[in-house]
């Protein structure tokens, strides 16, 4: 059982698509929500939906798509004063699947492990395979 909730905050349809893709891989996932920035959103209107998604008991992990983007900036502001909320930027499917299936507590060590895993998911795959071919 996962011990924390997850909210994906991203531009456009990306947040919903991440949740849909993670569900495709993992099956139905509880306590996983998506909040997407719409073209007509202001930081305030997006913040209202994100704030609503963050409501609830226990720790919550917010995964944002782009450092400096509005979903990320707003997530950081909303996480202020919520010791139970942690924000990781640069979400990819590998880190989302790992977080969604994690049974660890949402502490500094877990966040560090997730960040390392997400970074490791990004590779120059062609050069890796080229070095193995005859």
């Amino acid at each position: 059982m996962r011990t924390f909730r997850i909210v994906v905050a991203a531009h456009g349809e990306l947040a919903d698509a991440f949740v849909s893709a993670a569900t495709l891989i993992c099956g139905v996932l509880r306590d996983l929500r998506a909040v997407g920035l719409r073209p007509d959103d202001s930081p305030e209107s997006f913040g209202e939906r994100l704030s609503e998604a963050l409501q609830g008991d226990g720790p919550v992990l917010v995964l944002t798509d782009l450092v400096g983007g509005t979903p990320h900036n707003v997530a950081l502001m909303l996480a202020r004063g919520r010791p139970a909320a942690r924000v990781i930027s640069g979400v990819n499917l590998a880190v989302l699947v790992e977080a969604a299936t994690s049974t660890d507590a949402l502490d500094a060590a877990t966040v560090e492990r997730l960040v390392a895993l997400g970074r490791g998911a990004l590779s120059d795959a062609s050069s890796l395979t080229a070095s193995r071919s005859p």
Binding site: G68, G69, N73
Partner: protein, 158 residues
Amino acid sequence: MTLKLVRVDDRLIHGQVVAIWLKALGAKRIVIVDDRTARDDFLREVLELAAPPGVPVEVHDLAAGTARVKQLASDPEPVFVIMRSPVTALRLREAGVEFPLLNVGGIGAGPGRKPLYRNISASPEEREAMRQLEAMGTRVELRIVENDRPVMFASVKE
């Protein structure tokens, strides 16, 4: 003259700014002129972290920002200046900061504001500021991201 762009955007730094404009302009420094942000330590910190590594973000109130932008305009480093409102741009211009073009890229809907162009709205005071900037010789373009066709404020005003 190395103010690469003076932009009005009420989100200040966000995805379009870091992913598109910063790269297109080759700017090496972002200067935000905004009284509200200058007073808010946390918001300032969020914006400082919002730019990519190697691009410092400075946040100043109008008085300090005017002096700083004047100084940077004669410095070789390419600078990207962002503010929330055309009224701030007018104040900078009135204080003697020269810029031939004002880019208006984002003003959300709000009390007293009416739609101007696409997602850009403006209040009567903001429209008047843009008119005055044009009268002072600064062209005012409405352009959200760099590869949009710029539309001149002069061609859309009522």
